[in-house]
């Protein structure tokens, strides 16, 4: 994890009343030091999130609008038959809840990506990347920080949805935690990679149009795949190769205490692929950093 290690040393010299530089480095460069850095990065992301109350409410309102208005409106039109993991007929509202929870993570993954672009523009990305830990570990910490926020949001949604007809067993809320973690990692890794491609904040609207909406609508979030197949085989296969479908299914199964191995494999594989691409893109010697002129994209 680290290339070297230093003992913890105090950097203050109370006797002299001045900042002492007799020690080589005030912190630790070993694995414990990295965990401190990881904690600090997660903490900053959570502080920023809770400071932006409108972000919290808009993240919550979006799926609730879908649940209370869209799903309620379609409950009589879109009956859902018995398909795993459900053991009985379920109402449409019950069916869409996992998809809407992962939709929150999808938006959050892209929001994290947006904040990376913002960090690049305001320069705080430079501060992060001058930390002495290996760069991929810093990007991984950024990823974990974004996922932490998305999990808080997803559970806040589930808490409100609980009072609607959710039908989720109590143990499902616990079993879904690792699924939310994996789904959030995948969507965050995609966002991280996209942030390396988007040069300016203004270009981010196209990410919404070309990434978020196609991923969400061409998936099993709103309609079961067997129904999609009835109308179009091509669309069915598009949904099947869409990693978002597998993230939704992983969470859906977990919420009912079940495990979906294919979904899990696709989610982990996609996470690794996009995280690797993001690490290459943020490498100072390769990727966009070398081509475009660094984290802030400045030429001189």
């Amino acid at each position: 994890m680290s290339r070297s290690s230093n003992p913890v040393a105090t950097a203050t010299d109370p006797a002299a009343g001045a900042v002492s530089h007799a020690v080589p480095h005030a912190g630790r460069l070993d694995a414990v030091g990295y965990l401190i850095a990881l904690g600090g990065i997660v903490r900053r992301e959570l502080l920023r999130f809770f400071n932006q109350k409108e972000r919290f409410f808009s993240a919550l309102v979006r799926p609730l609008v879908w649940l209370f208005i869209f799903a309620a409106g379609f409950r009589n039109t879109l009956g859902v038959s018995i398909v795993p993991p459900y053991e009985t007929y379920v109402l449409y509202e019950v069916y869409v809840i996992p998809g809407l929870a992962v939709m929150i993570q999808l938006f959050n993954g892209m929001q994290s990506s947006l904040s990376m672009v913002y960090d690049r523009e305001v320069g705080s990305m430079k501060v992060l990347l001058t930390s002495p830990y290996p760069r991929w570990t810093l990007l991984f910490a950024k990823l974990i920080a974004g996922v932490s926020v998305s999990i808080v949001q997803a559970y806040a949604f589930l808490a409100v949805a609980y009072f609607w007809e959710t039908d989720i067993p109590p143990v499902g809320y616990l079993a879904a935690l690792p699924a939310f973690l994996l789904a959030g990692m995948m969507l965050g890794a995609i966002g991280l990679f996209l942030s390396s491609l988007v040069r300016q904040l203004e270009n981010f609207a196209s990410v919404m149009n070309f990434v978020i909406f196609p991923m969400f609508f061409a998936s099993s979030a709103l309609y079961p795949l067997w129904r999609i197949r009835e109308s179009s085989d091509t669309l069915y296969w598009i949904c099947m190769i869409n990693p978002f479908t597998h993230a939704v299914e992983l969470v859906r199964f977990a919420l009912y205490g079940k495990f979906e191995p294919l979904a899990c494999a696709v989610v982990i594989g996609t996470t690794l692929a996009f995280f690797t691409l993001a690490v290459i893109a943020y490498d100072p010697g390769r990727g966009i950093m070398a081509r475009r002129g660094g984290p802030a994209g400045e030429p001189t």
């Binding site: 680290s2 290339r3 070297s4 230093n6 913890v8 105090t10 950097a11 203050t12 001045a18 900042v19 002492s20 530089h21 020690v23 080589p24 480095h25 005030a26 912190g27 630790r28 460069l29 070993d30 414990v32 030091g33 990295y34 401190i36 850095a37 904690g39 600090g40 990065i41 903490r43 900053r44 502080l47 920023r48 400071n51 932006q52 305001v122 320069g123 705080s124 430079k126 501060v127 992060l128 990347l129 001058t130 930390s131 002495p132 830990y133 290996p134 100072p284 010697g285 950093m289 070398a290 081509r291 002129g293 660094g294 984290p295 802030a296 400045e298 030429p299 001189t300």
Partner: protein, 246 residues
Amino acid sequence: MSDSPALDIAHVSHRFGQRSALSDVSLTVGRGRFMALLGPNGAGKTTLFSVITRLYNNQDGRVSILGHPLDREPSRALARLGVVFQARTLDTDLTVAQNLHYHASLHGITRRAARERIAHLLDRVGLAERRDDKIRTLSGGQSRRIEIARSLIHAPRLLLLDEPTVGLDLESRADIVGIVRALVREEGLSVLWATHIFEELSPDDDAVVLHRGRIVARGRAGEIGEPGETLEAAFRRLVSEPRQAA
């Protein structure tokens, strides 16, 4: 290693596509020395800082910080380096303490150790009473002082400052210069200070002039230029002449 210079840059070149941003740049910042990096806008100062901070990989040449080569021992090298970037890089929605704790964590410093250090550094930059205020409530000069405190949290031995006084009023500028010079004088910190404001230099400072990616003059600030020529006049002449290596 104990007698290696604070910063040793040897034959560093960097290109953006076909355009050369740095060409065969070599300089050495001695321990406990204040070196001014002078250059007009676009001279390559920020690119050089990006190479030193490993935001870019240098394409040719080598960079060592306190004897640690940046390419082979990046963690050890970066651990000994403090940076104040040209752009403001504090989180304006967070408080002073939250910003400083975040930076301390990036260097693996526990919250407990950081608390003590933050109190000390805020005292040093004269802003102890603003600890719990949000950055957005601070003036430009106060933000800069916080950035200097932040750059010192991990007890670096080399401090890079990229035009830290640009956009500040005279009083704030004098504060910033005074704080950094005191660090050099009292604690033996080594400083590389990019600027084009000549009043910030004293004749005894080391100085290099960067122009179009090349070093065109070097020496003590008071000795650069022809006899009788001020530093500012020498600088204007150097950056108006066709490029030549020093």
